[in-house]
């Protein structure tokens, strides 16, 4: 989806991601008559040129996004939209449609918030991994500035420090692991403070990497006695690794050792043979291949496609004190998330994130990750476009799944109401309305895969997870601690 396409232009393909002027409808001119411009067309051209705007203007971008989605919603496919516009003329069509649908209501919310930003100067923390692409690339490519925010993004050495700096109030918001707001709010491993998971900054994007000496042990059944690294105890990495090995009959607490290693230290530890493998975020999976120390055993995408991973976390206190700033910040992040989800923007993001100030990685490694075209370390070349995805919607089911696994492995000992706990921590409603403010009713925008229910059913490694049947789900596992 390109937010700046004019949905009232009959000569573009609105469904085509790039919004290129399509050739299909317009055959090459065959007679003199084809060169004559009809009055209706002239009027349309005049109308369209009036509607052109500077791409840097965020207000107009959200406005346009809204119109885009409405037009797509009305017409369902591009051919009928173009036929209609050509038949009645763009300006007539606009008048007719805008009398039916108030384009300005939702978008006014963001516009209004932008005028009343309580706090312009913000500090946002990030851990240098590609999961944080919407935050890091968003900063490098001036997405925050576009919405009138003056953001400093601060590199953080590891998740424990990120959590402490969040709790200390040194960061206004931070890139966190998806389970962290839950753990922080429940007071697991730290004091309890209300933190909210606002959006997913990424989905997928992790992998299990093994040291090169284990090339002959590319099967989890052979992993008894292995030492694995994960970035944090309360992380999707830990939960997914546990799920994966347990499904292959390996008890993660008894048969293997799982230790916490900050992501940047993963490759160094693998090289030093301190660990046999890890389930870690990129760039450290691809970096292990690039440096010739390890190979990619499995992408986490193949364990649970579109699983959550990292999130944009913010404290309830900040939301209460700065409601407008919150909406604007959320919109900026969503805009960046949406932009990087598009294939054609991936290389630009990879290049923008390569310098020392950001990820401090060779740009080739970042390009391999973001384009999904990469060597796997075993001599193969792979093409997995959704190796990492950027789907912001934090469905409550994801939260319930996380809580179910935390219960399964004994991180949560008391009985909790899974749904209400996840309702409180995962801000689906707020995020959904902000997403809608940018592209309401847009069925074709990938991110608007907003499920009909807040509690969609997932397929996690071949097993159905129904958030309504959590206890049954936990009980169905053979290896568990509760």
């Amino acid at each position: 989806m390109n937010l700046t396409n004019d949905p009232f232009d009959p000569n573009i393909d609105l469904w085509n991601e790039c919004g290129e002027r399509s050739q299909s409808e317009e055959a090459a001119p065959t007679s003199i008559a084809d060169f004559v411009i009809s009055p209706k067309e002239k009027e349309t051209q005049a109308f369209l040129s009036k509607r052109k705007f500077a791409t840097g203007d965020p207000g107009s971008v959200t406005q346009r996004a809204l119109e885009n989605s409405v037009m797509k919603g009305i017409f369902g496919d591009d051919l009928s939209r173009r036929r209609f516009l050509k038949a009645v003329g763009a300006s007539t069509a606009y008048t007719a449609i805008s009398s039916l649908i108030p384009f300005h209501s939702l978008q006014a919310m963001v516009d209004d918030a932008m005028k009343k930003i309580e706090k312009k100067d913000l500090k946002i923390g990030f851990v240098p991994i590609t999961c944080a692409t919407p935050i890091i690339g968003g900063h490098a490519l001036d997405f925050f500035k576009k919405y009138g925010l003056n953001v400093d993004i601060i590199k953080t050495a590891g998740w424990a420090v990120a959590r402490d700096k969040c709790m200390n109030g040194e960061y206004d918001a931070s890139h966190l692991l998806a389970p962290m707001p839950a753990a922080m709010s429940l007071g697991l491993g730290s004091a309890s403070q209300d933190w909210r998971m606002v959006t997913n900054v990424n989905t997928n994007g992790q992998a299990i990497v093994l040291a090169n000496k284990h090339k002959d042990k590319n099967d989890p059944k052979l992993w008894k006695g292995f030492k694995f690294g994960v970035p944090f105890e309360y992380s999707m990495h830990n939960l997914l690794l546990r799920l994966y090995v347990a499904e292959h009959g390996i008890d993660p607490d008894k048969d293997i050792q799982i230790r916490v290693i900050p992501p940047p230290e993963m490759v160094a530890n693998l090289r030093a043979e301190n660990v046999d493998g890890y389930l870690a975020p990129d760039p450290f999976n691809q970096r292990a291949v690039y440096d010739g120390v390890g190979f990619i055993h499995k992408l986490t995408k193949d364990i649970w496609d579109q699983h959550p991973c990292c999130c944009f976390g913010i404290s309830q206190k900040f939301i209460d004190e700065n409601p407008n700033t919150f909406i604007v910040l959320l919109t900026a992040i969503l805009d960046a998330t949406n932009t990087v989800e598009l294939r054609q923007n991936r290389v630009a993001f990879a290049e923008a994130m390569s310098p020392r100030n950001y990820l401090n990685q060779p740009s080739a490694v970042l390009k391999q990750i973001l384009t999904g075209i990469y060597p796997d370390g075993l001599g193969n070349i792979k093409n997995v476009p959704d190796r990492i995805s950027f789907m912001p919607y934090p469905a409550q089911s994801m939260g319930v799944w996380i809580l179910s696994q935390m219960k399964r492995w004994g991180y949560i000992s008391k009985d909790i109401d899974f749904k209400s706990a996840s309702d409180e921590i995962f801000l689906s409603t707020e995020t959904e309305s902000a997403m809608k403010a940018m592209s309401e009713k847009n069925r074709n925008v990938k991110w608007s895969d907003i499920p009909a229910s807040k509690y969609p059913v997932y397929d996690v490694y071949g097993k159905e997870f129904d958030p309504g049947k959590v206890i049954e789900y936990i009980d169905s596992f053979e290896i568990k601690r509760s």
Binding site: K155, A157, N357, A364
Partner: protein
């Protein structure tokens, strides 16, 4: 020590350094092996052509060391040469002759590589490209400021306390168990606790410096004060000097060399600890610089940073060493 003797030592030092660099160069020297292409057979190129790959593309891949199976994989995935370029280019895929993945590409850097990196850094030590990328000069400044603040606080606490302990055997005995328990605790163990209590990473790192530099100064001050010659104090007493004046005009100068020795030990430890603390906390400083380079697995610039840390440590030691020399006296 005469001049000639010093000169000899200097020559010896220089020789050792040269031997070290030559050894280093020898151990890290790698013959740059060119990737050798494996020409495709006409059968193979016909197969590739059938799957839609252009002649020039397949020859380019073969020339870069990819084997037929790999080129076939690229064709099978429908990847154009533009796709491969978007993914960083085929060179970055790390295939060498025979299509094997290259082993340990980022080996230990050679001295010349470290020098290049060092030159880049020294040429512009005060650049500022955002909160996470600042020149080595700015990083040093922040580390030194933290060490200075923590160290000064420790001086303010430990010297009066050391006087008290040194002048009164009773207080000395009473304090001993606490000092003995607290002294061996690694200052880094304090860091999470400090972060939790102080709720500010900047102050927490200063606190850690404070904690690690207080003990040597405290003990040395106490020892220095306690071992001032009884004769000096007796003379002060016959001259009817007040206790305060005795401490200030007699004991302090007499104990000064010992106190400064304590400071010398403290500042050495403080400089060791700040780098470690900054590696954990991140943000800015020499420790962060090393960590950030580690994170990018950029060994050359880490080694440069290690040299800088060593040299600054040497300078700090030298400054306090001069203070000892100035206050030293012969009996």
């Amino acid at each position: 020590m005469n001049v000639q003797f010093r000169l000899k030592a200097a020559v010896l030092s220089a020789l050792m350094f040269i031997v070290f660099v030559v050894l280093w160069h020898g151990l890290t020297f790698q013959q740059s092996h060119e990737t050798e292409g494996i020409p495709l057979t006409s059968e193979q190129s016909a197969l590739l052509k059938a799957s839609g790959m252009s002649e020039s593309d397949m020859q380019a891949y073969a020339a870069k060391g990819l084997v037929f199976e790999q080129i076939q994989q690229i064709a099978g995935l429908g990847l154009s040469s533009a796709d491969i370029d978007a993914a960083g280019g085929i060179e970055s895929f790390g295939f060498t002759t025979g299509g094997a993945a290259e082993e340990a590409k980022t080996g230990f850097p050679s001295p010349s590589l470290v020098w290049e990196e060092a030159y880049e850094q020294i040429r512009d030590p005060f650049y500022d490209k955002g909160p996470n990328d600042k020149g080595i000069g700015i990083q040093l400044k922040y580390s030194l400021l933290r060490v200075g603040a923590g160290f000064l606080l420790a001086v303010l606490v430990s010297i009066p306390a050391g006087f008290l302990i040194g002048m009164s055997p009773l207080v000395n005995l009473a304090f001993t168990p606490f000092v003995q328990i607290l002294k061996p605790i690694s200052p880094l163990a304090w860091l999470p606790v400090a972060l939790y209590i102080i709720k500010d990473s900047e102050k927490a790192s200063i606190f850690v410096i404070f904690v690690c530099s207080i003990w040597p100064m405290l003990l040395n001050t106490a020892f220095g004060v306690a071992s001032v010659k009884r004769d000096y104090i007796n003379i002060a007493r016959t001259l009817e000097l007040s206790k305060f004046r005795t401490a200030l005009t007699v004991i302090l100068p007499a104990a000064a060399p010992t106190i400064f020795t304590g400071m010398k030990i403290s500042i050495g430890i403080a400089w060791l600890v700040i780098v470690a603390a900054e590696m954990v906390i991140g943000g800015i400083g020499m420790g962060y610089f090393v960590w950030n380079e580690w994170n990018g697995l950029n060994l050359a610039s880490m080694i440069f940073a290690i040299f800088v840390i060593g040299i600054v440590g040497l300078l700090l030691d030298f400054v306090i060493g001069r203070l000892i020399a100035v206050t030293d006296y012969k009996e």
